[in-house]
């Protein structure tokens, strides 16, 4: 089970939910993109606010797997990860 912690910036999509648990299909090892896809199915529209049309994580969004900052959506997961999406500190 993957735990995803959500930032307040997504409240308009999540109705204030701060944590979701995802159980991804297991035919192959999951990656971060699979998490984004699953989130978008649950909260339609959220993916494009986090990931641009060139499949890059947006400049002011940070995604941590465990304590590691990850910028690559192909980053592999082990299926029991703690993922935190953060509205990155970007001034003031």
């Amino acid at each position: 089970m993957i735990s995803v912690f959500l930032p307040s910036q997504l409240d308009q999509y999540t109705d204030g939910l701060r944590k979701v648990q995802l159980s991804l299909a297991a035919d192959q090892p999951p990656c971060l993109q699979d998490v984004i896809t699953a989130l978008d199915q649950q909260f339609p529209g959220v993916a494009f606010r986090l990931i641009d049309e060139q499949q890059r994580i947006r400049r002011h969004i940070a995604i941590f797997v465990g304590e590691n900052l990850v910028r690559d959506l192909a980053a592999p997961l082990d299926g029991n990860d703690r993922i935190q999406i953060v509205g990155a500190l970007s001034g003031g």
């Binding site: 930032p7 910036q9 997504l10 308009q12 529209g45 494009f48 606010r49 986090l50 990931i51 641009d52 049309e53 060139q54 499949q55 890059r56 947006r58 002011h60 969004i61 509205g87 990155a88 970007s90």
Partner: protein, 379 residues
């Protein structure tokens, strides 16, 4: 009883609606819409009463568009907001924010256009729900030469703005790019040509062969008169211009007729909907370090009633001194009243209104975030 007016305000920290009547003092400000989001443009649809589109983005989250069918009371996110096609390599562009929204021609009631930062032109054929690139412009082989590098854009990103759909011909489109210049299409966006002859480009050295630059300019705001599709005005980084398109393709710098001590630098320009020769600008200081605040701290609009041959100062109601206002390109608009109402929002969060065609001004709302756009909801 005067007609009810709804002003749509986009700001650095959200959107607001402001309701009132001409000449009234107690205008009613709504609760904030999408508080905390940068809202670049909120535009009503003159063809579909109650339809309003709202462009936000550029903060933590990526951009999106929201759609209201109840005149701005509630908004839902559209299904497919403007986004560039995904590239196979690292060259792909991504939309930072939708900067400009324009309803299409009256014969195409479901068509909208959007201009983005970085520069891109997008079109919707279903009332703003789904968007796709206007590839005739975005993929034009000269596009990147026209627009230059990101350094040639505005400080918060290069922008495509002033999307104009000719009210007499839906095939005829015009856009402004900062930087890049003005470009024109006669085939609904399939092909484009520069339309910048006569426009100064003081921020580049003169061409050694003595010719003029055909692109690379910095138009700030362009308008087509609603009664005469041939009459164009534009406020440029380098002056105020007029073009009578049926008489040629060379802009005339009507800003040369402004008082020298005021100059002809600014962002917005608006026209009188019932008089092709009447227009207003809000001059700002383009000297020295380009503060782009009211010259000498004395805000005023300037009106021409003769197509730019002369200008008159209108400042009654504005502070007489120490008022350093900045008014951005989407922050000045009119209603359709008689006499005409004019509205301008500044970067200090004040919304000013005039209900006597610019003769006198009053504050309608204050203490808002930096105002990005001001539009009136079509009746």
């Amino acid at each position: 009883m005067e007609t009810a007016i709804r002003v749509l305000l986009g700001t650095r920290k959200g959107a607001w609606l402001l309701d009132g009547r001409a000449g009234q003092n107690n205008w009613q400000l709504s609760d904030p819409v999408h508080l905390g989001s940068k809202v670049y443009h909120v535009v009503g649809d003159p063809r579909n009463p109650g339809l309003v589109l709202l462009a936000e983005g550029g903060g933590h989250l990526g951009p999106s568009l929201f759609r209201s069918t109840d005149a701005g009371m509630t908004f839902d996110e559209v299904e497919h907001p403007p986004q560039f096609v995904r590239a196979e390599d690292e060259s792909g562009r991504s939309v930072d924010h939708v900067f400009w929204l324009t309803p299409g021609h009256s014969d195409q009631p479901e068509t909208w256009y959007a201009g983005t930062s970085p520069q891109g032109l997008f079109r919707s054929r279903d009332g703003g729900i789904n968007w796709e690139e206007v590839t005739g412009l975005n993929d034009h082989p000269d596009f990147f030469e026209w627009r230059g590098s990101d350094k040639d854009g505005t400080p918060d990103g290069p922008k495509l703005h002033s999307v104009i759909v000719d009210h007499s011909d839906p095939m005829h489109l015009l856009v402004g790019m900062s930087g890049g210049g003005i470009f024109e299409s006669r085939d609904e966006g399939a092909s484009w040509t520069p339309l910048n002859k006569g426009v100064a480009m003081d921020f580049y050295p003169p061409k050694e062969d003595g010719s003029e630059y055909l692109f690379g300019h910095d138009p700030h705001c362009m308008v087509m008169h609603p009664l005469d599709a041939n009459r164009l005005y534009h406020q440029n980084h380098c002056g105020i211009y007029r073009l009578d398109r049926d008489k040629g393709d060379r802009w005339e710098r009507i800003g040369d007729n402004m008082p020298r001590e005021v100059g002809d630098i600014g962002f917005p320009i608006v026209t009188h909907p019932r008089n092709v020769d009447t227009a207003w600008v809000f001059p700002m200081d383009g000297s020295g370090l380009w503060p782009r605040t009211s010259p000498d701290g004395r805000p005023a609009v300037y009106r021409t009633i003769d197509g730019g041959r002369s200008w008159e100062r209108q400042d009654r109601g504005f502070p007489a001194t120490q008022a350093w206002m900045t008014v951005k390109r989407q922050c000045m608009t009119t209603d359709t009243g008689d006499p005409l109402g004019i509205y301008l929002g500044n970067s200090s969060g004040q919304l000013w209104g005039s209900f006597d065609e610019g003769e006198s001004w009053q504050i309608l709302a204050a203490n808002l975030p930096e105002i990005f756009s001001v539009e009136t909801l079509p009746a």
